[in-house]
Symmetry: C3
Subunit: 273 residues, 3 copies
């Protein structure tokens, strides 16, 4: 048995009635779908934060994943569906919010605009495309429609750019971007676990540069492997790299915010240079 | 295939354990039901606010819709099920909270009291009828029982009145009531989209009177069709009329709260009078 | 038809993406499972509060109930599954959080450690056992695996002790512990409804002692059976005993917090002593 799987991520806020409405629209078209909530507390209109949260679809089953962070709803921005190499469909606005997740899922196979109103809830609201465009698209894709039925192919080079790209490894240096800072004061970077392994192994130390500040970070598996109050860099639980302080706040050591640029070097290479 | 659909709206607060308990009771009786949350952050005991939120069942599939905003639980207020013209069943206390939704769904076909304890979870708690009375009723109705099996017919004229009725159109004037003011400062009225169209078309201007205050409101499709800081009246996404300010707060122009009376006139008629 | 039932309780916070991820893991293994949320707003790492909330599984269908309140994740604490006399499986860390619920469900039949990595999501994260250990265990149990397939039998006397035990009745006195105080100022005790009935019937008065303070509490069915501002002791809706003030706060009469010891006596016995 193979029930289609659909996840929902929005900036509506947990508890918003629009979430239930989207589920009803989906189940009205595809009653067998397994529909789950991934995240609804994305900061309103926060494309970077939404893109970061939406990366977690990699931990979900292959399926249709909707992301509604859509400050441009009602303008001429495209509604799109992205087919990924893993076999998922990512559905939402063409504002970059879907692209980091697409990268996590192996990259883009093809992208189509959602323009065929045969697969929309009519009349389409000017401001609630989650209900009228994205939810129906996910449900019809789950019913087996082809992505090509929804509208024209879009060249992926013409998509609105992502709010951040993957960090770049270049001769012993990783140039990275802060993509999240949580309320514990932990900082997350746009570095995939395996990319950091090119720089260092757990047990070694990594040097972080942000502007003119430098911090040495032991690369460990968990908080508890450094002393209380000491900083640590480690793999997070969703495939990225996290910087933290054992029972403390890394932001109090180094004030960073999403979008900030940082550089990481292995200490050994630093010494050699 | 036709799976029964049940929605839940309560004032328990998102995350309250009572919500999961109600779902378990439903699924224990009707395992095939599709159960979704509509709204659980209704202000405790706020019948007007609950009634307004519960109107959104019109955007859901035809099914059983439970609303638990029930300050009178444990007193002699009736528990009721309302059959609507659209084919839904609205289930909750007889305190008016179900009636605006019933009106949205085409009106009332018949109402029965829920008194047959064969279809209750026993012993019935004095204060948790959501679990013991309303959830079982929705599940048994979903299994195909007749509404008449649950208890005696109630004359709908004997129901506790709604917290607000539909606005009244009378010779070029709509007498309306504020039913919601959100945290952006937008105000919602008890006027159905199509009723406002009797007064004006989008593109025209509508005059709002509240006490001795008068505001001219351009009737447009979205915020963006007026200048930043300017007020606008438009259709909302759930069939009602919304008054807002583009990137601002209408409440700062005119302080209104749920229950307040307002009048709307087309500007042309005002000039003619 | 008999669909397996799984409930989720965590301290992740409602809206946390980890909840959706756990559901996806479960449904990937057991697509027919009915998965519902019981409680996710347990205070982080609060084992007593989590144990108290998790008792509400008694109001749910027989099934697999996961509780993730797990300050020791990543240490050598066991992951366990408890089979209860009612027929449920309680799944979570061996830190006591599962035990009050087990008592509510008739007691423990047997306990097994979850050590067989054939039934884990690999690689197992150091800090997200909800996804990698507990969710897969619940899904495989729901598919019909035996609890003995997951790892060795554990003697229940070797489990980490519960954060509180059942209150003790001894010759007209109940020695109890406060297990919850809510934001209304109501206090909940580790006394089962039927145990209080050994002391008094509704209508009688019970004397509460906390340290050197004494309060007489009418034992009634609901708040409304005492005057406004007066204290009352009553059965709560989840099988425990609740102390409240009609339209007021009992905490303002007597400051109590979870873990505090109290004694209850029937007034008649007090007079006799």
């Amino acid at each position: 048995m193979n029930r289609p799987f659909i996840s929902l991520s929005t900036d509506f806020g947990s508890g918003n009635k629009g979430i239930g409405v989207m589920k009803s629209v989906i189940l009205g078209i595809c009653p067998e779908a397994l529909v789950i909530d991934l995240a609804h507390d994305i900061e309103p209109f926060d494309i970077l934060g939404g893109a970061r949260l939406f990366e977690a679809v990699e931990s979900l089953m292959v399926g249709c994943h909707i992301c509604v962070v859509d400050p441009g709803v009602g303008t001429d921005r495209h509604a799109i569906a992205i087919e990924t190499k893993r076999g998922d469909y990512l559905i939402g606005p063409d504002n970059g919010v879907l692209l980091p997740a697409a990268s996590f899922l192996g990259g883009i196979v093809r992208v189509h605009a959602l323009t065929n109103d045969r697969y929309m809830r009519l009349p389409v609201s000017a401001i609630f495309h989650g209900r009228d465009v994205f939810a129906p698209a996910a449900a019809h894709l789950s019913n087996g429609l082809s992505i090509a039925d929804f509208g024209p192919l879009i060249d992926s080079s013409e998509l609105h750019p992502a709010p951040y790209n993957e960090a770049v490894y270049d001769r012993g240096v990783i140039r990275a971007t802060v993509i999240h800072a949580n309320h514990y004061g932990n900082v997350f970077l746009n570095i995939r676990n395996q990319e950091l392994h090119r720089l260092a192994k757990t047990g070694q130390t990594i040097q972080l540069n942000a502007g003119d500040r430098t911090v040495d970070l032991p690369y460990r598996r968990t908080f508890g492997e450094v002393e209380v109050g000491q900083p640590v860099i480690m793999d997070d639980d969703f495939g990225r790299i996290e910087i933290a302080v054992n029972q403390g706040s890394f932001l109090q050591i180094l004030s960073l915010k999403p979008g900030d640029a940082v550089e990481l070097r292995s200490n050994k290479l630093t010494v050699n240079s």
